[in-house]
Subunit: 404 residues, 3 copies
């Protein structure tokens, strides 16, 4: 595709690579707020470079062998494909760690499993967002186990852990969203002073994780925007992440507001991200019930939660609401799949006409994710990822041979 | 192995590549009867070339990265392995789109899923043969979604859709069968005037799809053969495909006959393809019941259908029936697995001695499929697949290094 | 990692490769006791070479395409990852033969399936340890089918069958263990006269296969050790394998003893391998019940067996037991995952402090397996694997490009 004017060329990519200042060598991006802006820029610069090289048919495989372990504790299509695409782009092969087909249930320690799957592995991608308080903790334990296995000489290399969604954050999503914003508004600097809304929206489905809204406010608050978090009473997020966002906003010269009115939030907004999530309290209760495997109670909780949701069907991103935004044309964002009224459900997060107008935008927004994941692996595994990429640019081997 | 006299050498392959006239660039072979003979010959020429290069240890990977998405809505061994082999041969990595592990159920549109799995994908292989009226329709929608995603700049490349079996056709099977016929009889021209029988046969199992017999009559009717379709009363195929075959036969200078006698069909036949399938009417009823998830009614239907089948146990390809064929030695064909009487079931499609005599033939028949699939991908993704292959022949890099 | 002093360098590896005397070309290592010591040394020499090349960042992919079929008839994590790692290291792509997603149930012959999945395959790894009397028999049939398919010209190459655990043996495990022993004690010669104990140990879980203890006594008895097999009454192994071990010990100048006292076994031992397994008689009964799908009877058998196990909780590898060993510091071995008392279960095979002291050792022990599997594939598929490796050493292409 037709590199858009906004998209950088190989020349500008090469230039950008020269300005990388921070290294993520042997580090994992488990939560964006644990990482400096320079480190996050490293990821985005490397991701942008990989995307441009891909589009210019340049081979980008520093690895000639190696596994990329995937562990999905929740269903996934796009993240699964993004991880597979990222691994493949770099020369790695995905091997799924399917706990239902393994002996892990038999009380094996995380430390042991982490090492056992890593002898020839370069990356481990984990999705674990079902249990509040569990996902991030698990990833930390995997991360520490790999550090130790590497220090002890059990592992020859230290695989990069990629957080493909946990209970607290969804860094590959939020960084893809940020790349989309940077591309749309021209630069991160241009985001300064913009009003961005992360809003709850009605959905007929239940139990959507908190990691996307948390990831968004945790990351986007770092760029001097007027960040608004909107949700109906009772749909608050995990406190510690809201605190992170509040602090980020103060530091970055932006602001952070919470409102219980979607209209108020949308007024004069430059960017809106209307998306459903389950109330924190429900997720907590659900976590407890899931742990105890209480099927009946879980069904009751679901019923109760859906009934509660149904009081807020007016939290839909309609044309009327979009009219309230800056020039009536705020950028609509979504991590997909969206619940589109009249298309994927009767009543949902967004009206069909709004979604259709921004459909290509949201598809392109999603298109950054494979490159963000690849960038995390590359940055975690190489001392100097810029040099690796510059070398690939110089060699300029075709990714596909022949006129495709 | 021992390139048989009949098999072309690299030299003849190179010669054949020079005579390719039709391009399938950015096109899908969803139904063979939608494609010109020149286009189908392109597939077979490319497939034959890939097979010869494989057997001569020539590396054939124009892709150095890229995914080949597989989506199986029905169980499969040989097609799954054929697709995986094809992808691997060209340098692509299979990523399975497993709907049970994805969020697709949540009302996500086909358009969206098709794009989401395709950012770095070069091919999508789909098997969807369970529901009459559904499989082909679904593949068309995927195909259109990819066209649009590519036109909109969401996708950088347009992945090739490979029909790995739908409700109407099974093009990778029928083209493998045709390559086997071409190899056995020396040329497509030599098929002219031959009598080929696609016959129903008894099986103790139930609900076998119609796509193989339909694929066979839809394709083989194009080469001037005397095509005979034989089945007991009530086992007719989808009308529109029978019409296609009738027209093809008229156009190609052959004939097309339907008979309800297996003996009559076999008399003087040069080629016989005895295989079970479910009656069209049963498949329709089954489709309805499957959609409504009516387990009990489905069981009843199965019982009823099996009882009906049991009236036709004489529809078995026995030695006696083979004696009726031309010189008693018609070529026996099957897409495998066959229901072999006394081997894989008590009473089935073919007697053990007939099958055993042609076992190697049927195995070799199956051996074309990986190359046919690879040829479809190559032809769909490259403007000039012949040039791509000629380049690979010139480079002559070993597929396996060292004396294997 | 820090090649330890004990680990060979590329130079010594090159030297070792020059001394390979036996070929496994087109042969499978289904049972170690069917193979000569020279053949097994070939596997270990090639495995050691691959490991050193891996650690020195040398690319080891003689295959530029090709599938490695995996068939797991029992759950597995480490073996699955070991097989995937091995395939990947050599340039092969794993394709799983998942019988639940295939048509194999429909009475298809092993001969047919074996051929159908092998057109472009270079290796088939099989784990089949659930049914006594079945796994090895199945692997033999696959092996013969591939021989025939290759001889008949159906297959262009003869894929190597890798036994990833059967009812009789677990050769990739026992050879990894032997490499660990060789590395720990300096040479195979140094094992002569050592006392090695394969001991049953208590576990709260049930139905652990016999293949590990059988594999250990079947292989380790070949190196002149004083082999002791220890288990409580009623926990004997398959007779034919015990006979193999007895004969091996006699031939190799060692001894073979069976005892029903763990203490006696541990006294002055140099190496201890305490591990749970199900009694042979129970496995036989279980096999019958599994075949008949008798769920209730299986549950009863499990209960009965666990109750029986519970009488032997003193069969735990404690500090007190370790004190009995030679200098109190026998090498503790385990195939993992171990049932660690107070860690992965309340009471188990080994006390936490003993396991923790040997944890890194057991992890490293496990780390040989990917290379053993790769060595089996390489040795089975190449006339002269040493030449293949020497060529790779000469070329010295980086496995990972850039400073990782």
């Amino acid at each position: 595709m037709k590199t858009a004017a906004m998209e950088p060329s190989i020349k500008t990519v090469n230039e950008a690579l020269r300005h990388i200042t921070a290294s993520l060598y042997r580090k994992d991006v488990l939560l964006t707020w644990e990482r400096t802006e320079a480190e996050l820029e490293t990821v985005m610069t490397v991701a942008a470079a990989l995307k441009v090289l891909f589009e210019n048919n340049v081979r980008t495989r520093p690895f000639s062998s190696g596994l990329a372990v995937s562990q999905f504790r929740d269903n996934s299509t796009r993240t699964r494909f993004s991880f597979a695409s990222a691994a493949n782009l770099l020369g790695l092969t995905v091997q799924d760690l399917d706990e239902t087909k393994s002996q892990i249930a038999h009380g094996e320690t995380v430390r042991e499993t982490s090492n056992m799957v890593s002898f020839l592995s370069e990356a481990i991608g984990i999705r674990d967002d079902m249990f509040l308080g569990a996902g991030h903790t698990y990833m930390q334990e995997v991360s520490r186990s790999l550090d130790q296995g590497f220090a002890d000489g059990v592992l020859h290399q230290r695989p990069t852990v990629v957080n493909l969604q946990c209970d607290l954050d969804h860094p590959t999503q939020s960084l893809s969203d940020l790349m989309h914003l940077r591309n749309t508004f021209g630069s991160l600097e241009n985001l300064h002073g913009k009003k961005m809304v992360m809003s709850w929206a009605y959905s007929p489905s239940y139990g959507k994780p908190l990691s996307v809204p948390q990831g968004i406010i945790g990351l986007m608050s770092r760029f001097g925007m007027d960040m608004v978090l909107a949700y109906p009473e009772g749909y608050s997020l995990v406190d510690e992440v809201v605190e992170v966002a509040r602090r980020n906003s103060a530091t970055s010269g932006g602001s952070f507001t919470v409102t219980q009115s979607m209209d108020e939030a949308f007024r004069d907004a430059d960017i809106v991200y209307p998306k459903s999530w389950a109330p924190f309290a429900v997720m907590q209760k659900r976590t407890e019930l899931l742990k105890k495997d209480q099927t009946e109670a879980l069904k009751d909780l679901e019923k109760e939660c859906l009934a509660k949701n149904a009081h807020h069907k007016d939290w839909e991103c309609t044309e009327a609401k979009m009219k309230l935004t800056n020039g009536s044309k705020a950028l609509y964002m979504h991590c997909l799949p969206a619940d589109i009224s009249g298309v994927s459900c009767k009543e949902g997060e967004v009206s069909a006409s709004v979604f259709e107008r921004y459909r290509n935008d949201t598809y392109k927004e999603a298109g950054y994710k494979p490159f963000v994941i690849a960038a995390m692996i590359l940055s975690g595994r190489f001392k100097d990822p810029a040099k690796v990429l510059q070398h690939l640019i110089e060699k300029n081997e075709p990714r596909i041979k022949g006129e495709a």
